[in-house]
C-alpha cells in the first residue's frame, strides 16, 4: 500500500466516491411526485344559466329559466368550495309569469367534488346543484402549416333541486367559465 503510485491512489479515491454514491443512491427514497389535486380548479367567474325550471310533482306545463347570473368561485377550503353569485333574473311564463324577477346576490357554499363530478349550493343548501365539469377543446389549423391553437372552455353542467317555502322545483343548469384565477 505504501508503495501505491499517485494514479493508483486517485483511482482508489474515485472508486470510493463511486461506491459511496451508489450506496447513497440505494438509500435514497423513491421519488415521490407532488400530490396531484383531485379537485378541479374552479376559481374565477362563470356565466350561469338555468333552464326547464319546473314545479316538482306538478302538472303545470309552464317553466322558468334564469339568465345573466354570474358565479364567482374561490379557492377550495377545508369545508369545500365557496363563492358568491351576482346578478341574474328569473323569467317565467304562463301561470308562473308572476314569479319573474331579479335575483339578489347569494353565497355559494358546500362545494364538493369527486373526480369530474361535483356539487354546490347557491344561497342555501336548499338550492343544491349537482353535475360535472367538461373541458371543450377547439383545434384551429391556420393555412397549410400545422399551426394549432387549443382553446379550453370549461363548462359545468347538471341539474338542481330547489326547495323554497315548501315548494319544490327541478331544473337544469349550465355555467361557462369567463375568467380564471382568484
Amino acid at each position: 500500500m505504501m508503495g501505491m503510485s499517485q494514479s493508483g491512489r486517485t483511482a482508489s479515491v474515485c472508486c470510493g466516491i463511486l461506491a459511496t454514491a451508489f450506496i447513497l443512491y440505494g438509500c435514497k427514497p423513491e421519488r415521490i411526485a407532488a400530490p396531484m389535486s383531485e379537485l378541479p380548479d374552479l376559481r374565477g367567474d362563470w356565466a350561469y344559466s338555468a333552464t326547464e325550471i319546473r314545479v316538482k310533482g306538478g302538472n303545470l306545463p309552464e317553466e322558468c329559466r334564469i339568465d345573466g347570473m354570474r358565479l364567482t368561485f374561490g379557492d377550495w377550503e377545508s369545508k369545500g368550495l365557496f363563492g358568491r353569485s351576482s346578478g341574474g333574473q328569473m323569467l317565467c311564463s304562463g301561470t308562473l309569469a308572476s314569479l319573474s324577477g331579479q335575483l339578489p346576490a347569494y353565497p355559494i357554499r358546500d362545494g364538493g367534488s369527486v373526480a369530474q363530478h361535483f356539487s354546490f349550493s347557491i344561497g342555501t343548501s336548499d338550492w343544491l346543484h349537482t353535475g360535472f365539469i367538461t373541458h371543450d377543446t377547439v383545434q384551429t389549423v391556420v393555412g397549410g402549416d400545422t399551426v394549432r391553437s387549443l382553446l379550453f372552455t370549461d363548462t359545468l353542467r347538471g341539474t338542481f333541486t330547489l326547495r323554497s317555502n315548501g315548494a319544490d322545483f327541478l331544473g337544469n343548469y349550465r355555467a361557462v367559465r369567463l375568467t380564471r384565477g382568484p
Partner: protein
C-alpha cells in the same frame, strides 16, 4: 494589589441590588395593565371606558388618583411614580356609559417596581356594558321550518350609533340570526332588516326594527320574520248518514286558476277519526288560488267533488281556517240494502 479584587467585589455588590443586570433602574413606580370586557352579550372588549385608581393606603404616589381609559381592545394602563418602594392600596373605579353606575372594586393592591419598563397585569375585569341581545327568527310560513342558510342584512336607519351600522348574517341551524352590533351608548337602535330568500321569493325588507340595549343577561324580544305566504285551510268530512266523522278520506285539490301552488295537484291522505283533513299546499306567491276539491272516502261512501273552491293566502301565523263540514253520502248500493 486591590485592582484585581475590585471588579469581583463590585459584582458581588451588584448581585444584591434588584436593579442590577441588563437594563436600567429608576424611581419606584406602579405600572399595571388591565383589560375590561363586557360582562354580558358578546363578552367582547369594553372600549373607551374611564378607569380611576384612588389610593386609600400603602406607599404614597405622586398623585392620589391615577386615571386611564380603555382602548379598542379594552386594555388600560395605570401608571404613576411612588414615593417609596412597597405596596399601594386603593379602589378601582370603572365608569361605563351612562346611565350605568360606576363600578367600584375596593382593596386593589399594586406593587411598586424600579425596573424600567416592567409591566404587571391586573385581572380581566368584566363590567356591565350596553349591548344588544336581540335575535330574529326567520322561517318559511308554509312549513314553519327554519330558513337555514338564508342571508339577512341589518341596515341602521336611526337611533344610537353602532359599529358596524350595516351587517349581513346567515340564518343558523335553529333558524335564528343574532343581532349584535357593537355600541358604547345606551338606548334604542332603529334599522331595517333585508331578507334574501331563495327564488321564487324576492328579497324583502322588514322596516323600522327597534332594538334596545341591555346591560344584564336579560334576553330581548325575538323579531319574527316569515318568508312567503301560506294556505292554512282544513276541512271536516262527516257521514251524511249519521253526521259522524269519516276516517281515511283522501283530499285532492286541483288548481283551476289563480296563483300557482306546489304540489299541484295537492293531495292529503288521509282524514283522522274525526274526519279532519288539511288543505295546505305551498303557495308560490301571495294571492288567491281557485280549484276543485275531490273527497274520496273509503267504502261505503261515495266520492264528492266541490267545484271552484277559493283559497286565500295569509302572511301571518293564524290558526288553520275551517273550510267547512262536508257530508259524504253512502253509495246507492248500500242505501238500497238498507
Amino acid at each position: 494589589m486591590l485592582k484585581p479584587i475590585l471588579p469581583i467585589a463590585l459584582c458581588f455588590l451588584a448581585a444584591c441590588d434588584p436593579c442590577s443586570g441588563l437594563g436600567s433602574c429608576g424611581a419606584p413606580r406602579v405600572r399595571y395593565e388591565g383589560t375590561l370586557s363586557q360582562a354580558f352579550g358578546s363578552r367582547g372588549p369594553a372600549s373607551g371606558i374611564a378607569v380611576r385608581f384612588v389610593r386609600t393606603g400603602g406607599v404614597m404616589l405622586d398623585v392620589d388618583t391615577v386615571r386611564a381609559r380603555s382602548d379598542e381592545d379594552g386594555r388600560f394602563l395605570l401608571e404613576a411614580e411612588a414615593r417609596s418602594e412597597g405596596e399601594v392600596v386603593g379602589d378601582l373605579l370603572i365608569s361605563p356609559p351612562a346611565p350605568l353606575e360606576t363600578v367600584r372594586i375596593p382593596g386593589i393592591r399594586l406593587v411598586t417596581s424600579r425596573a424600567s419598563g416592567e409591566l404587571r397585569t391586573l385581572a380581566d375585569l368584566p363590567i356591565p356594558f350596553p349591548h344588544f341581545a336581540h335575535q330574529a327568527r326567520v322561517f318559511y310560513r308554509a312549513t314553519g321550518q327554519p330558513a337555514v342558510g338564508v342571508e339577512v342584512e341589518f341596515r341602521r336607519t336611526g337611533g344610537i350609533t353602532v359599529e358596524p351600522d350595516t351587517f349581513r348574517l346567515t340564518v343558523d341551524e335553529r333558524g335564528f340570526v343574532i343581532l349584535r352590533p357593537r355600541t358604547r351608548e345606551f338606548g334604542e337602535l332603529i334599522g331595517d332588516l333585508v331578507v334574501y330568500p331563495l327564488p321564487p321569493h324576492r328579497q324583502f325588507t322588514v322596516r323600522g326594527v327597534r332594538l334596545t340595549t341591555r346591560t344584564t343577561a336579560q334576553s330581548a324580544p325575538i323579531v319574527q320574520i316569515g318568508i312567503g305566504a301560506r294556505l292554512p285551510y282544513a276541512a271536516i268530512v262527516v257521514s251524511a248518514a249519521d253526521g259522524k266523522g269519516v276516517a281515511g278520506v283522501v283530499l285532492e285539490f286541483r288548481r283551476t286558476s289563480g296563483i300557482p301552488i306546489s304540489p299541484d295537484p295537492f293531495v292529503f291522505s288521509s282524514s283522522d277519526a274525526s274526519g279532519t283533513l288539511f288543505l295546505d299546499p305551498a303557495p308560490l306567491e301571495s294571492g288567491e288560488v281557485r280549484g276543485d276539491v275531490t273527497l274520496r272516502p273509503p267504502p261505503p261512501y261515495e266520492t264528492v267533488v266541490l267545484r271552484d273552491v277559493r283559497l286565500q293566502t295569509t302572511e301571518d301565523d293564524r290558526a288553520y281556517q275551517l273550510l267547512g263540514y262536508f257530508a259524504v253520502p253512502l253509495a246507492d248500493s248500500v242505501k238500497a240494502d238498507r
